[in-house]
């Protein structure tokens, strides 16, 4: 194996400038996380605790094994989308260990609008299920939800990927033998009631958990029957009479203890199919990545220096190092797990794309997971490129990447523009998980190119109509376009929309990847059949 020899100077002005800039980016990331983890308004949380109910994050902490990691998924979902800013879209999702078994935990945030489902709430729930499904993780759902948030019905009711998909994915996962366990912690109406009812085994908390398709008020309005909620859908009633729920708990803690037992009783999960080797730290300090990542859009970042600080022992066995060198392909280990890395080092050319296809094929044949690290302005344009078949090469790369059945991961470490975004295994191509660093940017094109392109169209139109356009006017036209593209490209926009699963600090990357590669290595992978590769 080859150890990357770093040529970095940590005393240079640019290093210090970049480092200071990046530390601000990380502070902003942490501030956003703090906000997302706060839960509902203080008043709502106090009321919740006064009723002797545990807050959802306390439920998760109590449920997890001591010392278990908890990898939160999409915690910045819905960030900035709603006026009253429901933190984390009113639902907490993440992966952690319970009774020795790694599970997907899904908990409604009842202190935010009663745990009701907004558009992003449903999308986040569906996304968490999808991740669990791909990794065959038991779903532990801590239900405390009033169901759909009515004003948002367009985003939760009619389409796939919405509330109905939550039900569908419970059923299909269950059918595949992926355990679906739920605790009913609060009043669950309509859709909220279906979630636990569809699960394999359900615990309900006495005097606190309720399930009904229509609550006492709706029942009265619809049928004129007056009935209290205990008799209509109380825990005792559902456990003793209707049989909707299976286990009766005295309080939240008791319910979580029962849930832990249910997980304990699940059959053992398979061992690793790819045994890890001893994890080794990189030879260079990962914190130096802060000073490597360029703080100026027009100055490129040396991706090789980043790799030297991400992979075990800084060992990166590069494939075809002398061919298509604007794309780094190579074998490495992260936290002891083997991984094939495809990382941009500039524009994608025909040669680099062809190299990617060859490398993806190697990894698929050898069952090595693929990590795509995107920092790409796009595929090369121009006569030379077109005559060299760049479109064919790009298509080939997309075909290979898209066909690959080994676990794939997308990490945006810089720019991810245009078709480059596609080629580097972004969300539409089914990466197991997709992440962005806080400096990441992704869009159809860069802000300047977008402004220039649109201004050109505008100028041609004006020239046709014979209207003069001063350069000041053109600049006034371009600025909002730049602004719009800049804010669109921001990773928090991607995280808020769950186009990526989280924004992560470069320093968290090794740990996150270690946890995920471990999960992936526990399940066999189906062989890859490639789509037709245009030759």
């Amino acid at each position: 194996m080859t150890v990357i020899m770093s040529t970095l100077s940590t005393h240079s002005e640019s290093f210090k400038r970049n480092q200071a800039h990046y530390k601000n980016l990380v502070s902003e990331l942490q501030a956003r996380r703090q906000l997302a983890r706060r839960g509902g308004k203080q008043q709502a949380r106090d009321r919740h605790e006064a009723a002797e109910k545990m807050l959802p994050r306390d439920r998760i902490d109590a449920l997890l094994d001591p010392g278990s990691p908890f990898l939160e998924i999409a915690e910045l979902a819905g960030d900035g989308m709603y006026e009253d800013n429901p933190p984390g879209a009113g639902i907490i999702t993440g992966i952690g260990r319970v009774s020795g078994r790694v599970c997907m935990l899904i908990a409604n945030e009842a202190t935010v609008k009663g745990g009701t489902y907004y558009t992003m709430t449903a999308k986040k729930h569906v996304r968490a299920q999808r991740i669990a499904w791909e990794h065959k993780l038991p779903n532990l759902t801590l239900v405390d939800s009033g169901g759909a948030y009515l004003p948002e019905q367009a985003g939760i009711f009619p389409d796939e990927g919405q509330y109905g998909s939550v039900f569908h994915q419970i059923v299909r996962q269950s059918a595949e033998g992926i355990p679906q366990l739920a605790v009913v912690h609060g009043a669950c109406t309509a859709g909220g009631a279906y979630v636990p009812a569809l699960c394999d085994q359900t615990v309900i908390v006495r005097g606190q958990g309720y399930m009904y398709l229509g609550g006492p008020e709706i029942t009265y309005a619809a049928t004129g029957e007056r009935v209290d909620r205990e008799n209509l859908g109380g825990a005792e009633m559902h456990t003793r009479i209707s049989g909707v729920t299976d286990y009766l708990a005295d309080n939240d803690r008791h319910a979580l203890a029962i849930l832990r037992e249910l997980v304990y009783d699940l059959p053992q999960r398979p061992a690793h199919t790819i045994p890890p080797q001893k994890p080794l730290p990189p030879r260079y300090d990962p914190e130096e990545i802060y000073g490597i990542v360029s703080s100026e859009p027009q100055v490129p970042t040396d991706t090789r220096e980043i790799l030297a600080r991400l992979v075990d022992d800084s060992r990166f066995d590069e494939f075809k190092p002398s061919y298509g060198d604007s794309l780094l392909c190579g074998f490495a280990h992260i936290m002891g797990f083997p991984v094939g890395i495809i990382a941009n080092q500039g524009v994608l050319f025909t040669e680099s794309s062809i190299k990617a296809v060859h490398f993806i094929d190697l990894c698929c044949k050898r069952n090595i997971p693929l990590l795509f690290m995107a920092d790409v302005p796009g595929y090369m344009v121009g006569r030379e490129a077109e005559q060299g078949g760049i479109t064919k090469a790009g298509a080939k790369m997309i075909t290979a990447m898209s066909s690959a059945n080994v676990p794939k991961y997308n990490l945006i470490i810089g720019n991810s523009y245009g078709a480059g975004y596609m080629g580097m295994c972004s969300r539409p191509f089914g990466p197991r998980l997709a992440f962005g660093w806080p400096n990441g940017r992704a869009a159809l094109m860069g802000p300047e190119q977008a402004a220039t392109t649109l201004a050109m169209v505008q100028r041609q139109k004006r020239e046709r109509d014979g209207i003069a356009w001063s350069s000041e006017e053109e600049e006034t036209f371009k600025q909002p376009i730049r602004d719009q593209f800049t804010s669109f490209a921001n990773m928090y926009n991607f995280a808020s929309n769950i186009w990526i699963d989280n924004v992560i600090d470069p320093l968290e990357t090794r740990t996150v990847m270690g946890l995920l590669l471990d999960l992936a290595a526990r399940e066999p992978v189906s062989p890859t059949t490639f789509g037709v590769l245009r030759m």
Partner: protein
């Protein structure tokens, strides 16, 4: 000397006898039971024959098997050690009948002293004072009761065939007399095969002084000075020393002479111990033990003799190797017995596997029969080791022993080390004026305080580390710090919920961890008390814990869900229990009982206000030609009855409510 010696015993005494054999160049073999295959004595002696199952009657008391073994290994003598067959005259006879030498007194001497009544008679013959009491021993409870009534209280009931504190009861009032008699007789029967009891006055708060004697079997007897064994619990010695401190020399002379006189009257052969009670300037014969004693070590320390060598010499040559004036005394020795027992729980023997054992070596004699991995079972004596300290004077010996007890590490089961530690610090023990009632009187003072919270913090950190290292291959277990890894929000709050409960005795404390700092220190919160500790692994189960500027050394071993810690505070056991328990439900007792079937009530046994016991029938219902009885789920009181006889009741209809009594609630939580 002998060609080969068979050591018919186990544990520390077998190891100790083997040491003398090795020094004298006498080949030795030993025996073991099926559970002792890996025992230390088997390893130390080097040749051992398995002679039977775990119960002593099948192995260490199995005369036939032992004789067979002796012949098979080519032994010409048998050393019976201590306990088991060492005082059994029939065994001694069988050994001699097989043409082998029994290392011990003559069978008739054993017979004479094994019956406490005949021993008393022998003492009187030798003009040695005895305690007033009934003439003879009795096996009729009514007769015993009658005799007790005729004597001034307090009196003592003793199994006439007994020893070791079994079958002994002190009667201070007439209340419960017959029960005490019955229980003493049961214990006597079970332990010695005879229920007969002896009754004598109870000499309270006396000092226990005993004299080591040796005789050649032809009337020549010498003494090896006295020992004091006043520190006893449950009539069993725990600290022994030689010579006796604060004993007037005139009294010492009288006692030494009396012991020699008594031994001479029976033409004593071999080693023996004559025990006395001393009180208010008087002394009384207690008993004579015709064997080596556990505490022979302190006599060896002050005389420089090897008592096992002396035994072997007398057994093979029938002579004494020295004269009385050649036996000299110098310095002072104190022995502490380390037992597997629960001192706080009434000195009940504890059992289990010794996970880690470490004795200080310097300036100390350690006679031990266990090693790491040894199992203490209920089949045999739970003694782990004897720590024998020797000094120029008592103060020096005591200081050495105190230090030794503190440094002795035995992890894996409960021991009396902490108790010994506080005992040795007590001013009365330091002054050397304790009597044999001292421990019982001062017991509350002697129990060690609960371990300081720092130890719980260290135990918690060690436990979490252990869980991590056990699952090193699993990132979902091994990543991050004590609190588990999270995507950082810059605050790094610890989980809001405790990681587990740590129980010490009956006290259970929730444990929460803070983040691990760069220097490796971790904040541990124990029920609100925060302690920051940095624990460094020193290898071999030893750890250094830095708490601020203070450094504590500990030794740790781990059980299934247990952390055993040894520190300057002694040994402590912490049990790790899950924070969430399915039994933790606050009101899991639901007292509202409903009909299980639709049917007619045919009988109602109770009314509101009635107290009911668990499983008591409350209501009988008839349905589908069957009778169904609703019973009380726990002890409690009937709050209300919701039906009458003859009522037709729907399924799931509540029929009766019971309120649990406080006790049953407690039991269920």
């Amino acid at each position: 000397m002998f060609e080969k010696l068979l050591i018919a015993n186990r544990g520390e005494i077998a190891c100790r006898i083997a040491r003398t054999c090795r020094r004298l160049g006498i080949p030795a073999a030993t025996v073991h039971s099926s559970v002792d295959r890996n025992a230390l004595h088997v390893q130390e002696v080097g040749e051992s024959i398995e002679i039977g199952g775990a119960p002593a009657v099948e192995s260490y008391l199995n005369t036939a098997a032992i004789l067979e073994t002796a012949i098979a290994v080519g032994a010409d003598a048998i050393h019976p050690g201590i306990g088991f067959l060492s005082e059994d005259p029939e065994f001694a006879e069988a050994v001699e009948a097989a043409g082998l030498v029994f290392v011990g007194p003559r069978p008739e001497t054993m017979r004479c002293f094994s019956d406490k009544w005949s021993a008393k008679g022998q003492a009187r013959l030798a003009d040695v004072p005895v305690i007033d009491g009934s003439e003879g021993s009795f096996s009729d409870p009514e007769e015993i009761e009658e005799r007790v009534r005729q004597m001034p209280l307090p009196v003592m009931l003793k199994a006439v065939a007994g020893g070791g504190g079994r079958g002994v009861r002190v009667i201070k009032t007439m209340d419960g007399l017959s029960a005490a008699i019955a229980s003493a007789m049961r214990e006597a029967s079970a332990s010695f095969g005879r229920p007969d009891l002896l009754i004598e006055g109870f000499v309270e708060n006396a000092r226990h002084i005993e004299v080591q004697v040796a005789g050649d079997g032809q009337g020549n007897v010498l003494h090896l000075f006295e020992r004091e064994c006043s520190l006893q619990r449950r009539f069993q010695k725990i600290i022994e020393e030689a010579p006796a401190e604060k004993l007037l020399s005139e009294m010492r002379e009288r006692i030494l002479e009396a012991a020699v006189r008594l031994a001479a009257t029976v033409e004593y052969r071999g080693l023996g111990t004559v025990e006395f009670l001393v009180k208010d300037g008087e002394y009384y014969f207690l008993e004579c033990n015709p064997r080596l004693q556990v505490e022979h070590t302190v006599t060896e320390a002050i005389t420089g003799l090897d008592l096992v060598e002396l035994q072997l010499h007398i057994a093979s040559k029938r002579t004494l190797p020295m004269r009385q004036n050649e036996v000299t005394l110098s310095g002072h020795a104190i022995q502490g017995r380390v037992y597997a027992e629960s001192s706080a729980g009434g000195f009940i023997p504890s059992t289990g596997t010794v996970l880690c054992v470490d004795f200080p070596k310097r300036d100390l004699r350690v006679d031990s029969g266990v090693k790491a991995g040894s199992t203490i079972t209920s089949h045999y004596d739970p003694m782990i080791a004897k720590l024998v300290a020797y000094g120029n004077d008592r103060g020096q010996a005591l200081a050495i022993l105190k230090q030794a007890v503190r440094k002795t590490v035995v992890l894996g089961l409960e021991t009396n080390l902490d108790f010994l530690s506080s005992l040795l610090r007590h001013p009365v023990v330091v002054a050397g004026t304790a009597d044999n009632g001292f421990i019982d009187r001062e017991i509350q003072e002697l129990h060690t305080p609960p371990p300081p919270p720092e130890l719980a913090a260290i135990a918690s950190i060690l436990w979490m580390r252990r869980m991590h290292t056990q699952n090193e291959q699993d990132p979902w277990s091994a990543y991050g710090s004590m609190v588990g890894w999270r995507l950082s929000d810059g605050i790094d709050c610890a989980p809001s919920q405790p990681a587990f409960l740590l129980r010490n005795g009956s006290t259970s404390v929730p444990i929460s961890f803070g983040h691990e700092n760069k220097d490796g220190s971790v904040v541990v919160a124990l029920d609100g008390v925060e302690i920051s500790a940095r624990v460094i692994d020193g290898g071999g189960g030893h750890y250094e814990a830095a708490l601020g500027s203070r450094v504590i050394s500990v030794c740790a071993a781990f059980g299934e869900q247990t952390v055993y810690l040894h520190s300057q505070h002694g040994s402590t056991k912490f049990a790790v229990e899950p924070y969430l328990s399915v039994d933790s439900g606050a009101d899991s007792l639901n007292g509202v009982l409903s009909a299980q079937m639709m049917g007619k009530v045919v009988q109602v046994y109770v009314k509101a206000g009635d107290k009911v016991a668990a499983k008591a029938p409350l209501i009988v219902q008839e349905s589908m030609k069957m009778e169904l009885t609703i019973t009380a789920p726990f002890d409690g009181t009937v709050v209300s009855v919701g039906c009458r006889e003859g009522d037709l009741i729907e399924r799931n209809h509540p029929v009766i409510e019971i309120a649990p009594t406080a006790q049953s609630t407690k039991e269920s939580t």
